[in-house]
């Protein structure tokens, strides 16, 4: 029987179960509204390392270790690790997961990578290519600012549309059975380019991609927004959320009642000076591990659509005057 659903989705015959999840974040995220929900909050941004990049590798390593510990599994039992981060050539991931000695697929989907890794991981488990796989993604405020914007020491001003890159990593273990949350379908995103060139307004760059993926998911699965307890984007922030809701209304769907954005959830707008919200691969990953999955696991939310969103730019493409296209990968997660 075909598992192909509509134009760009898969409805799995056999779900991939999320049997373990772990989150580790920095101090600022620990002080935010979700602070008490994370597994580990670092005391300092360097996590004991000499560079921001090594710190981010440590985040990934610790998140994986925590997820393995919770599942009482060993790295040798993981058939694949699907991993990614925001840095050029994925160095946070490579140096982060290297010592686990797990066959690795390196992924890049900007801040949508958590959705990409869960999608490919679920495809592998559902197709019997693996008993267990791990999916891990991360971001770090220090390494991301250095990579994409200015040295931290420069102390540049940030416009109100800007988001704050989350320091954190989320790791997930997928298996054929177990746990109380499972991935029942995916909608893989296309690149959507509205021609926005402002790398400090990533919400606007990514909202059209989120709209495209959510719309396609509703069409492919023949669902209405209310068929989901939550439709959760990765890191659109306040600016992007408004655009997304407007764009989907134009297409005939009102998601305002069920929409939630990890970038809005993770920081307190009034006190944490993070402007439009949080962003980064880590943002959706740690929110999934710390807040979304527990709600699905206990049945408070029966079915959610998790849609991490990514802005596809590099310092080079930005400096060369290219636009910032977006991409968003949808993952349907249900209580079981």
């Amino acid at each position: 029987m075909t598992q192909i659903a509509g134009q760009q989705s898969i409805k799995f015959d056999k779900s991939a179960h999320i049997i373990s999840a772990a989150s580790i974040v920095g101090k600022k995220e620990g002080e935010g509204p979700l602070g008490k929900l994370f597994d580990l909050v670092g005391e300092e941004a360097s996590f004991g390392e000499n560079t921001w990049e090594e710190a981010e590798s440590t985040l990934q390593r610790e998140a994986c270790q925590l997820a393995l510990g919770k599942a009482k599994l060993l790295p040798t039992q993981m058939r694949y690790v699907f991993c990614g981060d925001l840095l050029g050539q994925l160095i946070a991931s490579s140096f982060g997961v290297m010592n686990f000695n797990i066959p690795m697929f390196g992924l890049y989907g900007a801040c949508s990578t958590c959705g990409e890794s869960l999608s490919l991981g679920a495809m592998a488990v559902s197709a019997d290519y693996a008993d267990y796989v791990m999916a891990v993604t991360s971001s770090h405020f220090g390494s991301a600012e250095k990579q994409f914007r200015f040295p931290l020491e420069y102390g540049n001003q940030r416009p109100l549309a800007a988001t704050w890159t989350v320091t954190g990593s989320g790791a997930f273990i997928l298996a054929k059975k177990g746990g109380h949350a499972r991935i029942t379908g995916i909608t893989t995103g296309k690149i959507v380019d509205y021609g926005v060139k402002d790398s400090l307004n990533m919400g606007a760059c990514m909202a059209p991609a989120a709209c495209d993926t959510i719309y396609q998911n509703l069409m492919d699965f023949n669902r209405q927004p209310d068929d989901y307890d939550k439709i959760i984007t990765g890191d659109l922030g306040y600016v992007g959320q408004t655009i997304l809701i407007d764009l989907l209304k134009e297409k005939g769907f009102d998601i305002s009642r069920v929409h939630m954005d990890c970038g809005i959830e993770i920081y307190d707008r009034e006190t944490q000076d993070t402007h439009s919200g949080g962003s980064g691969c880590g943002c959706s990953a740690v929110t999934l591990a710390a807040k979304i999955l527990p709600n699905v696991e206990k049945g408070a939310w029966k079915r959610v659509l998790f849609v991490p969103t990514g802005a596809l730019l590099s310092p080079t493409s930005f400096n060369e005057g290219q636009s910032v296209p977006g991409i968003a990968h949808g993952v349907v997660i249900e209580h079981c």
Copy 2:
């Protein structure tokens, strides 16, 4: 029935057929020993664009277009595109494949990405997630030197162990049936780090990873080197080839009779001043499309093990004194 083979391989119940392949290269590659085999040779390195990065995007776009044309298929018929390149945040791929509007998985495995994309593409087709998928990878001498080393204008000297990044892109279309070459199995690589820190001797950085993947492939499939007509690494070059053959001899396998390296094939050592050979995501991809597949398709080679090799470094990790670990993804391709 399980498709899991040994420790890190898959033996597909249903093979993914490579029904179309296309290659496009730069002038230097066109002047090399494989020159007449490529589908398209560019007159100038910029391929009509303003920047090296846009040129590389054009390479990917043209390679995809050629592969689609050969298969008489439309972009809308592709369920997924699995793509990657060497640049930070995969900008060559994002801007290259964007306009095809195909659901996209962005991948990074350094120069092993061609193997990663074929592996994940074959997994998707074999599991009935897609009728057709496209896999495309690229590299460009200009964009890679700028990204990893020095501005071209600086005219730095290159040590004899250095390789020359291939300007080129190879695109492949996978389907459930058709064509005369099929992917029957894969061996997904782990990251292998021998602690080499010389980014101008990538052959030495990658040879241990190639050894690990080839050894594991032979063990997982219970094969001897002679069970393959060719064991083909991506871009070890002359230096890496010697190391690989020595390392595998220590593990009890002599592959010297069947070993071939795309980096050695693509340039003429005597006349093209490319030192240890060619490298880059494009090197293995264009050699697969132009030389390897035609030999498999006509049955001259019944079964080959194609092992693109990647060096996992970034300018940042290198400048911070990190080592250069390697990874290699094995793809078993057979005549049919």
